[in-house]
Every structure is written in structure tokens, then in C-alpha cells.
Symmetry: C2
Subunit: 192 residues, 2 copies
Amino acid sequence: MEELKTLVNRLSPLPDSDFEALKALFQKRTVKKKGFVQIENNLVNEIHYVPNGNYRGYINKDGEEITTHFYFGPTFLADYLSYKTKQRTKHNIQAFQDGIYYSANFDELEALGETSLALTRFFLKFFQAVYLYKEQRAVSFVNDSPEERYLNFFKIRPKVIEQMPLKYIASYLGMTPETLSRIRNKIRFSEE
Amino acid sequence: MEELKTLVNRLSPLPDSDFEALKALFQKRTVKKKGFVQIENNLVNEIHYVPNGNYRGYINKDGEEITTHFYFGPTFLADYLSYKTKQRTKHNIQAFQDGIYYSANFDELEALGETSLALTRFFLKFFQAVYLYKEQRAVSFVNDSPEERYLNFFKIRPKVIEQMPLKYIASYLGMTPETLSRIRNKIRFSEE
DNA sequence: ACAACTACTTGATTAAAATCAAGAAAAATA
DNA sequence: TATTTTTCTTGATTTTAATCAAGTAGTTGT
């Protein structure tokens, strides 16, 4: 849990007492390779902290898995949309390897957030950060061709491109694996 | 400025003193029909409050205007991405009619936000709300065909569909006006 | 009221990406 | 290590939406 402090402080530093209260809400869990942290059709009432390892979020669309998120620890995992709207989640979150993570109840977390300026500020910074990420992604989808989307994503998250299987990247970028394979082939060719 | 209080309180109620301090940051401006609240290539350091009237945000992409936002007063207008990253904005924000609006300096607003729990909480709620909107839009883009995107957007923001010119809606949904026109024609036909 | 402009529609053609299909390469697991 | 499974690549074909083009309706401004 030591890296949690680093992760939190990078967003917005917390007094020790606040950090301890925050930390106390998280319960340790384990997950097997290809196991799930979250499964579609459930109501979401937890947020998860993942110290390390890789995870993938995806939606089932007509039997096809469409990847919507790549998570690299240390990071948080959550489906805030499902939590907030009280709709059953469409998102599955799957581990790429055996791992541990920590889960906190969303309601308790929000209640705790109300109690201190530093914590509220921390949540604010958190949402500002994820908002910025979303905004960039949205602009790229409206603005860019599949090839541009790939190159743009490469700039923003090179590690995902390096470490994640092509088929997941393809669906994340809104195209088929075949199309992405051809785009890569084309780029390879044009670089030589 | 009376509706500002309603708009603010709907997100998160503020004590009078906080609200007055917030209000004091906003300066009245006027804009002509087809005039601009924000023009691309500038650095953004203001957020705007629009009591009424309609506005449109768009990006120039190879000479084409791609609509990225529809704003219906009372609401806030901002390019938080540009402000936060200190990159020149790509977004133009244009009025559909003569109107008045109010502008506040982003730095001053953020500084004010630091001073009170209620204000920080207000900003948190604000970002949570825009985040939710973004998330829904992102899911729709990854998940849906052009027709589904249109139907989905119709559900979420019927007023935009009713009141905005087709060509702006088309680019907002990532398609050409011709394609949207055909989609509408098809839907009309299948409804009869 | 008229002219000029803008928005929308519809059809024909082209271009881009999806789908279908097969095989090669790589990774997982027994 | 051998076998099975998964991932990736490549080609052929189909589908979808973009582009090109022309015409109509509607709006704006003089």
C-alpha cells in the first residue's frame, strides 16, 4: 500500500490523518490471471486500487469484446458511470495476471470526501485528470482517421501499444484487428 | 445573474458568501449573432457563464468545421483542456444569436476554489457531471454505428436534435450531413 | 419582393474499412 | 518438448459511408 501514498500525493497531497482514513476504507483482494475485478450486469458500489499489474476493461457488444480501458498499476479502477447512475454496469474488468488489489465502498469514500477540504480537493484533482484524458480521447475520435487515432494514441500511451495485444488496441481505437494490422504494416513500410 | 445561483445550487449548494465571491469574478460581456466567445489559436484563461441562448463549439479540421459541443444556456462554457495544458485552443465557440455572457479568470476561480470546502465541492460536482457526459459519449463512439449514435444522442439531448442544424449534428456525431440526412430518411420511413 | 446565400435532400460513384477466409507465427499449457 | 490454442497477417470480397454533383427548399439581407 506504500505506492498508494505516492499515487495520491501526485494528484493532491493529503495530511497523514486523511490518508490513513482513506487507506482504511480499502480491503485487500486477490485475483487470478484472466479473473475479473468487475463483471457486467452487476451494480457497482466499489472503487479499486491496483498497486501493480495490467488490467483491461471491456464491453460485450453483440458477442464481441470491445476494449474500453487499459489499466497499468499503480492506478485506480472504477465504473463511476454505473455507480452514479445506479445502472447495472456493462463493463468487465479483467486481470492479465495473478494479482492483488484493494477495494473501497464508493458511498463510504464519498462520505469521507465530504469531511475534509484536502480530500475533496483530492477527488477534484482526480476527476479533473480523468476528464482531461476523456476529452483528449473524444477529440481524437471526432477528429482523426483510424490511422491518426493510432498514431495519436501511440504518442499518449506508448506502453499500451508496446504491451497490449493488437486485438484489444484495435477495438479500443474503434477498428478491427485486420485494419490495425494493415495500418501497422503501412507505417512500418513508410518508415523504412 | 439570478439563474447562476440556480445553476450552481443544482450542482452543489453554496453559502451566500461563497456564491457572492464566485459571482464577483464574472465580468459581463456581449456577443453578436455569429460572434465568438472563444477563437482558436488563443491561450485560454477564462471560463464563461451563459445565462441563455445557444452556442456551438467547433474545431477546424482541414478547412472543415467539426462541431464538438452544443451549449444551451444557462450553462458554463470552457476549454479546460487548453487552460490546463497551456496549449493554444483548437476550439471556436460561436453564438447563434446576439447575447450576453459573463467571463471569469480561470486562475482566480481556481484560487477561490481552494479557499472553501463548499466551493471545492462545487467544482468537484461540476467535473463529475462533465466527466459522466464525456464517458457516455465515448462509450457511444466506441460502441455504436452512426445510426445508433444518432438515436442514442437523440435520447440524451433531444433539444439539440430539434434545434440545431443538421450539418452541425452530423459532424458532432462523426458523419457527413449526407449520411445523417439518409439516416433520418430511413428512420422516418421505418416509423411509418 | 428579390437576390443571394445556406441548408437539406437525393442519386451516382468512389473510397475506406469490415467481413470472410486461410495460413503463419507466437504463446500457453499439458 | 510437443500439442493446442491464440494472435497476427495477408488476400479477396462485400459493405458502409464519403465524396462528388445537382437540384430544391428555406432563410437572410437589401
